[in-house]
Symmetry: none
Subunit: 353 residues, 2 copies
């Protein structure tokens, strides 16, 4: 009897031992692997934190320098700064459907519904001086890149301004080119040149269409487009410059309730709008978004995320989680874009003041 009971207790003890050992071993192993993944995550976090802190310091320096310059600008008399420069007084201001640079087309006439009203300063532009302009189909607009944040440096001391000699080219996915081989706004003399369709002349203002001008642009001159001077047969460009490098999207769709939402907003902008109805405004949105208007950095960032998710074998072609914004006539238009560039316009609101 005693023997058998001992046997039993021995086996019990053994089995307990083994169970305990196995359990704790497996626990240790699983914890070990989880902690390895954590290790990786920690390294990634530490890396991006370091980068972010570096960027932060740079921005801080930039802010401080700008504020110092501002202080000096307020103190010094401005007159003695204007040596060997021609003072150019704008003859008018552009009121455009594009409230911000983001979404403003990178070239003219690709968004036919892109409208603007150029209102002349009647002190500089007598009405008679516009007679005959309406008989032309198109005109040149020579304007100031007034949103360049480095303008002040150019005015103060052109030769010392930190102007970049080479600029990243969107159609080269960010590769660099000499700035004079591009139409970049960051030029020694920040003058822009664009062509627009002359819709009509109303008193001291011209209604234009197909514009690539942002709202508030100061205009220096308007000239008629003369095909026999301005349209050069057989003019050639480098291989990297190609019209179809403008990134067209696959499709632009609107959520079912979009038009209703837009129609609710309409009364507020109706009076000052360049468009006659919510439907026409929706067509503008469709035309603007039929080109990928995202910045190179925005695009590449999304592509990286796409690669990451794909590698994790869980990627599918659903709309991605980034919401982009476009501001037209003061209205905030929210949209998403899939990795195969189908655009879904989701909402329109008044941006927070």
């Amino acid at each position: 009897m005693a023997g058998s009971s001992t046997e039993t207790s021995k086996w019990v003890t053994l089995s307990i031992t083994l169970t305990l050992a196995t359990l704790s071993a497996s626990a240790a192993i699983s914890v070990f692997f989880r902690s390895k993944r954590r290790e990786k995550h920690i390294n990634e976090l530490e890396k991006s934190l370091k980068e972010s802190l570096k960027k932060c310091a740079a921005e801080r320096q930039g802010r401080i320098r700008a504020q110092q310059d501002l202080r000096n600008a307020m103190l010094q008399p401005k007159t003695d700064k204007l040596e060997t420069t021609y003072p150019m007084a704008p003859i008018g201001i552009i009121r455009s459907c594009f409230s911000t640079r983001n979404g403003t087309p990178r070239q003219p006439l690709i968004v036919p519904l892109a409208r603007a009203r150029l209102t002349f300063d009647t002190a500089l532009v007598p009405l008679a001086s516009l007679e005959g302009l309406e008989e032309y189909s198109h005109c040149w607009i020579i304007y100031v890149f007034h949103l360049n944040t480095d303008l002040d440096k150019l005015w103060k001391n052109p030769s010392r301004s930190k102007l970049k000699a080479k600029v990243r080219v969107p159609r080269l996915k960010g590769e660099k080119m000499g700035l004079f081989a591009t139409r970049s706004p960051h030029r020694p003399c920040p003058i822009g040149l664009t062509v627009a369709k002359v819709e009509s002349i109303q008193g001291s203002s011209i209604l234009l269409s197909g514009v690539d001008l942002v709202d508030g642009t100061p205009v220096l001159d308007v000239k008629p487009y003369l095909p026999y001077c301005d349209s050069i047969e057989g003019a050639s460009v480098p291989d990297w410059v190609k019209m179809d490098d403008l990134l067209a999207v696959a499709s632009v769709d609107f959520t079912d309730d979009f038009l209703a939402t837009l129609t609710d907003c309409w009364p507020t902008i109706d009076k000052k709008s360049l468009y006659t109805s919510p439907e026409e405004f929706q067509n503008l949105i469709k035309q603007v978004l039929s080109w990928d208007i995202r910045s190179v950095s925005q695009r590449t960032q999304v592509e990286e995320n796409y690669e990451k998710t794909k590698n994790e074998q869980i990627y599918n072609n659903e709309v991605q989680d980034v919401i982009y914004h476009l501001n037209l006539e003061g209205l905030d238009v929210a949209y998403r874009i899939t990795s195969d560039s189908n655009v879904l316009v989701e909402n329109v609101t008044f941006p927070p003041k």
Copy 2:
């Protein structure tokens, strides 16, 4: 004996059991706590990354705001006389074959041999900024109409300058048009726009051809000619604007000894000339004079004389008595033109200093 042996084995087993259990348990526990510490570390890292990114965005906003204020500060009236103006510093100067306005073509590319060297101010234009421009066949030149006699009035007080709202149009035999329906140099903002052929880039200068620019023209900007933006298919102009209204002459001939005279002058201008030989220079003269370059008033005056002589029944088709002058590369070219617009180039000399 047997009993004691069982006892022993039992105790051994038990002690092994306990040891094993304790070991694996403690292992599990320690790994558990280490991973807990990591968890905490990750949360901390994620928290500070989030904060850093927030701070970074704030600094960026601050920088942009400060730069915008600075920009506005720079744009405030320079004196109580001046309106808000943009000071434009020329980036280079044109050295053109056309020494004076008289003879300078009224539009680009109609005189293929019309050459100019645009030399950049290297303080404003680093060499790298020109990289890639040579790959384009044509470029825009945005310049100042520096020979307008009313410039100073414009700078001092744009709104009070005696700018004419309507200008005489050569192709309309002097009929008037609103200035913005023309390319007249007399504009509220005296900025010119022309296109030229890019021949080559030599260091800090571009060699251009087909120019309609007068020597000494200050250049504000150079942009590549982009056919898909700048060449507009089906752009229309008013009926009065027609290429063939540019008055082509019937013929251009030279007196027998002209080339000899030119060859005598050549050594003096050879070094700084844009042309390689007297023969090439003679071809330039022929191209320039194959368009009637006389002013409207010059032409009408001659026509009146022609009418007078005709009425006096003594008119014949001989070369008339008026001698016109053209200044190319500092050389004075003398020519006559018959009533049926045959040009005879008679002489070339150095103009009196």
